[in-house]
């Protein structure tokens, strides 16, 4: 096992009704004035906004609203929110939403205390020396952002979808109430399943050092996601399945399954980031297209682990059967497996490849992911 440091100071408040604690939690951290970030007005219609504002009012915590954060969150909005945070001199950021709102909130929290432009922090021109404390109420389980220090934002001008991470951007407290996720659409449920599986498999397949213990933990996550997704497609109100799905999602990207592994990379995310940066497809939908295609190209590089995956996840024998089973499962639950299902045409391929090659630089895997390789992988996603 590789040497590692594991540190994850985020407190998770998990379960029904926990969102009612938000005023108490913020006041307990000495917060007096918070930037309240969210996406659409859905949280106003479904009562969550009222619950949050009541709880804040009760504890005397003031808030400034910053709504309208979109999926695949964009840099312009982050910049706008940083200006708002500065104008109102907020002392914390509260995210109420899914991974996009939370990732934006982390970027806002870091950017608000950075003298230059926040994009500097994404491209290595500046480093995160401090951040406002971030708190969140999660409404979609997928990205794992509630228990890690990473944030992904798209620069709409340059079409770059890049990430930051820092010891300062762990959420202080994340509220995860699976009941708030019962209204997630069928589409976003299956995209989320693909996203969680993507988080679990990147290291599992690509690590040069992958302890068997870690493989077992990954399989525990994937098998739980598969099982609970099927339960939730039949009965979206199943709280226990929703809860297991959400907790598996948190575990997939809180550092646990990566601690001690080595030499891994994120090729599926690297490719998908181009799809969502260029065509604004849902991240999970992009991933379910990329993963089987990538696997068809990659599996011969790590046949033993692909065989393990086939056996331990789908109960089949060969690497090829395991990949086919995952693809068939994606088809069955109704998340895309072909570029055409994302509305990406043949004519779009050249600029997609260029964008991916740029990402490969940023992800540090440009030597492996050459133009030929990327073309081969995308071809697997066409057929």
């Amino acid at each position: 096992m590789e040497n590692f440091t594991f540190f994850n100071p985020t407190k998770i408040e998990f379960g029904t009704g926990k969102e009612q604690l938000i005023g108490q939690i913020l006041a307990g951290h000495g917060i007096k004035n918070v930037l309240l970030c969210y996406g659409s007005d859905r949280i106003k219609r479904d009562g969550l906004f009222a619950t949050v504002s009541d709880s804040l009012n009760e504890r005397g915590v003031r808030y400034v609203e910053c709504g309208g954060i979109v999926s695949n969150p964009v840099l312009s909005k982050v910049r706008e929110a940083i200006a708002l945070a500065r104008t109102h001199q907020v002392d914390a950021v509260l995210s109420v939403g899914g991974g996009s709102v939370l990732d934006s909130s982390k970027a806002i929290a870091a950017g608000a205390l950075y003298a230059g432009d926040v994009w500097d922090l994404f491209i290595g021109k500046g480093s995160i020396e401090a951040a406002l404390p971030v708190f969140d109420i999660l409404t979609l389980a997928a990205t794992g952002s509630e228990m890690n220090n990473g944030a992904v934002v798209t620069n709409e001008q340059t079409k770059e979808k890049f990430a930051i991470s820092s010891v300062h951007t762990f959420p202080k407290v994340s509220i995860v109430n699976p009941a708030l996720m019962q209204t997630v659409s069928r589409d976003y449920l299956v995209y989320s399943a693909a996203d969680i599986i993507a988080h679990a498999i990147e290291g599992y397949f690509t690590a040069t050092e992958q302890p068997r213990f870690h493989s077992r933990m990954v399989e525990a996550i994937i098998n739980t996601v598969i099982e609970t997704t099927e339960t939730l497609l039949e009965n979206p109100q199943d709280y226990h399945a929703r809860a297991e799905f959400a907790w598996a999602s948190t575990q997939a990207l809180n550092g646990l399954i990566y601690a001690g592994t080595a030499g891994f990379s994120y090729p599926n995310h690297m490719i998908e980031h181009s799809l969502s940066a260029l065509f604004n497809v849902p991240h999970g939908a992009g991933l379910s297209v990329v993963i089987p295609a990538w696997m068809k190209w990659y599996h011969s590089r790590n046949p033993q682990q692909f065989q393990r995956f086939a056996q331990h996840v789908f109960g089949v024998d060969t690497p090829e059967q395991g990949i086919a089973a995952l693809e068939a499962w994606f088809d069955k639950i109704g998340t895309p497996t072909r570029l055409s299902q994302l509305g990406i045409s043949e004519a779009d391929l050249p600029k997609t490849i260029e964008n991916i090659l740029g990402n490969a630089q940023w992800f540090g895997i440009a030597e492996i992911y050459t133009r030929d390789v990327v073309t081969t992988i995308l071809n697997h996603a066409r057929q």
Copy 2:
């Protein structure tokens, strides 16, 4: 899934050579004068003490030695160390050793800032409002104490083996270098395996609510412990097996596999605490005697989960076969499965039963663990 709060702020520094960072770590936390707790003089003979003292000296961190902490650590020693901590006005406690030294260190850290007698904190007469910061270098993987806030100490006078836990007693930083564990004796390796398995199964079998995700995580831990123990018995120098064993041990009791479960109890620990309090047997050796005996009595209360255990851990079909397989495995690796192997005779049984009944009160499970039940379980451990 039950509502829960998950918070584990301990930083883990895992891997070879990490003990050399201790001076830097303490200085980085502003520590100037530390109580250095350890067990036998083995750490002086094998060079670890010199490494630690060199590292402390290099960073100008003074230390006061407190050696001689024994397995099944005792209250008198904790009291002695608290006096020492006060006399020398240390500002932190550094544990260099296994779970006994670390548990003592947590009790010392809490007791040093408590006005009354430290045992008050174990029996509910006082509560832990503060504690000195605790740091540790772990030399034995078994108790999981390196990533939780619990500490177990035996009151030699009353023969009570009780525990404390508090948000203040999480170690700040735990250094886990599997290479330091390569000199652990064969006996202590197999006792440790039993201890880790005990941590993993208590909730797995007794919880009234046990999500399947959690069962999968438990099985990942147990299967890793079984596999790596066998590897280490053949080759104690296998670093990778030692590392997986150690990390599985940490995961077994850092809260992860219990978060969201409900209604569980610790009957195996409850019974074993009496064996080690009365007869000073190694905790893990006591557990490997208790576990199969307890299972033979308990399994009909949760047959589905015992069948799951049989299938997912040992690849056999029935609850009875699973229990027999675990007992056979304990026999195979050479950890005791009968009271007589611990030197506990027929004549010792009455006082053992009395002590267990007292523990059952403390553990809050006296209604289930009546005299009849305890006698039945102990009978399974005689035959």
